[in-house]
């Protein structure tokens, strides 16, 4: 079967790739671009481990076909660090101990990033609603919610 050319922006870099039409964005990221921070768990869109931010929206990359992201702007967990400095969410996740086994973490952070981008002062209820999109089997979510709250506060302070 013929491959297709697809061009998109990934972590501030423009890339053009030949992909299979039946390839998921997750496979493209992990296998063609070696961005293995994005994880595959269920592969059916239930768990959220593979979440990346596409055009400002958190998407489950296991449910997106690679040719669908033509022209899109994509951020993965690898793209959060700016000029050698970790993203406030990454800092807060470490500080609050919101990571145990770590498998859900990149998806969790990307979901939270999209939330903070569209709403820089989310309430605790809104944070809980958002992170419940992703499955974490270790932490019981408490520390994750605290970390997102903390990162939200920091981001608002930075703007002041």
């Amino acid at each position: 079967m013929r491959t297709m050319k697809v061009t998109f922006q990934i972590n501030n870099e423009q890339v053009t790739l030949q992909v299979r039409p039946y390839e998921t964005l997750l496979e493209t990221l992990r296998e063609r671009l070696s961005l293995t921070g994005t994880k595959e768990a269920c592969g059916l869109g239930s768990c959220g481990a593979c979440t990346v931010v596409v055009n400002g929206i958190p998407l489950r990359s296991c449910l997106v076909l690679a040719p669908e992201v033509e022209g899109a702007v994509i951020t993965t967990v690898e793209g959060l660090r700016q000029e050698g400095k970790l993203h406030p969410l990454q800092e807060a996740f470490m500080e609050k101990g919101a990571v145990q086994c770590g498998f859900c973490t990149s998806g969790m952070i990307m979901t939270a990033k999209a939330l903070l981008e569209r709403n820089n002062k989310p309430t605790k209820k809104e944070i809980i609603r958002t992170v419940s999109s992703n499955i974490c089997r270790c932490t019981g979510y408490k520390k994750i919610v605290e970390a997102v709250e903390e990162a939200g506060k920091k981001a608002t302070q930075a703007q002041k």
Partner: protein, 315 residues
């Protein structure tokens, strides 16, 4: 999980999508959000030669208020629709059903059209090819009989849309465009009652628009599920009221949503409706909760939903 091989085609207009579908001789599937289709493909429950992406079609993404109707393009994302002030004010049953659909991230990807046209689900159907081969194919996969109800030559899979029951209580109509032209029907008429092909659609038809009569309603949506954060409905009950009459729709149990009308509401009429809904709900052992519990909960949720609307929203 690896996808089967297929071609990917992008459609920029409805006519182009239908033309591509015809070229593949019916061996194609339409794709919008993909939250239902991609898992079906991964499990080899659908193996099309081509997938036609409808997302680039601008006409499917519009939300417009024209005269007596609110017209919703089939590709409007559930999350965007949920945020619409008109939907909240006029159609609370729909707004609540949108809020109850899956989780936020999937609401941003999933579309209203896709939610309505999702395939029916069963614990013994939504499984990998290897699992299903070992178990033996059921009626819905082209096998000889149901795997849940022994020897039954019929399907008991559940229609798990949250939004369709809400839309049915709002007397919504749906418009399809296909190789044979365009048609508009009442939403409750699109169900075939046949598990192998749950929707009565002609090959190649695309759901283009959902329209709701623009009249203020009171309403609610009650949903039974194991995890509040996501999950398909194990029972879903929508109620919309206009004046002294109500429409009630029960989804999540069996192949099609069942609709009930209630006029001049009083206690005895409510009880009659509750009893009818419970009698007509025939759950089987194909979901995560037991059939007897789900059957009982149909009654609980119908009565709870009606009373909640009567009290003006509070439980």
């Amino acid at each position: 999980m690896i996808l089967p091989k297929f071609e990917y085609k992008r459609a920029h207009s409805i006519a182009e999508a239908i033309e591509v579908y015809t070229r593949y001789d019916g061996q194609a599937r339409y794709l919008s959000g993909g939250t239902d289709l991609i898992p079906l493909l991964k499990l080899r429950l659908s193996t099309p030669a081509a997938v036609i992406d409808l997302k680039p079609i601008p006409a499917l993404k519009t939300l417009s208020r024209g005269g007596r109707w609110l017209a919703i393009g089939a590709n409007v994302a559930l999350f965007d629709l949920k945020k619409d002030p008109l939907v909240k004010e006029y159609f609370p049953a729909l707004a609540e059903s949108l809020e109850a659909t899956s989780c936020e991230t999937l609401q941003m990807r999933g579309t209203l059209g896709g939610n309505i046209l999702q395939d029916t689900r069963c614990l013994l159907y939504n499984k990998s090819l290897e699992w299903r081969t070992a178990r033996g194919f059921c009626w819905k996969m082209g096998g000889p009989a149901c795997n849940v109800v022994p020897n039954a030559p019929a399907c008991f899979a559940n229609y798990c849309s949250d939004n369709a029951p809400a839309l049915i209580t709002l007397s919504a109509q749906v418009t399809f465009a296909g190789p044979g032209g365009e048609r508009t029907v009442k939403l409750e008429k699109i169900f075939s009652g046949d598990g192998r092909k749950p929707m009565a659609l002609a090959p190649g038809e695309i759901l283009t628009q959902i329209r709701i009569p623009l009249e203020k309603t009171k309403g609610t949506y009650e949903k039974l599920r194991v995890r509040d954060s996501m999950d398909y409905p194990l029972v879903g009950v929508a109620v919309s009221m206009k004046g002294y009459s109500a429409r009630i729709c029960v989804g999540g149990v069996g192949l099609l949503p069942r609709v009930y009308s209630l006029k001049d509401i009083n206690e005895s009429r409510i009880k009659e409706t509750v009893d009818r809904a419970v009698a007509e709900a025939k759950p089987v052992v194909n979901a995560t909760l037991s059939p007897s519990y789900r059957k009982k909960m149909v009654g609980v949720l119908v009565s709870r939903a009606i009373k909640k609307v009567q009290r003006g929203g509070a439980r």
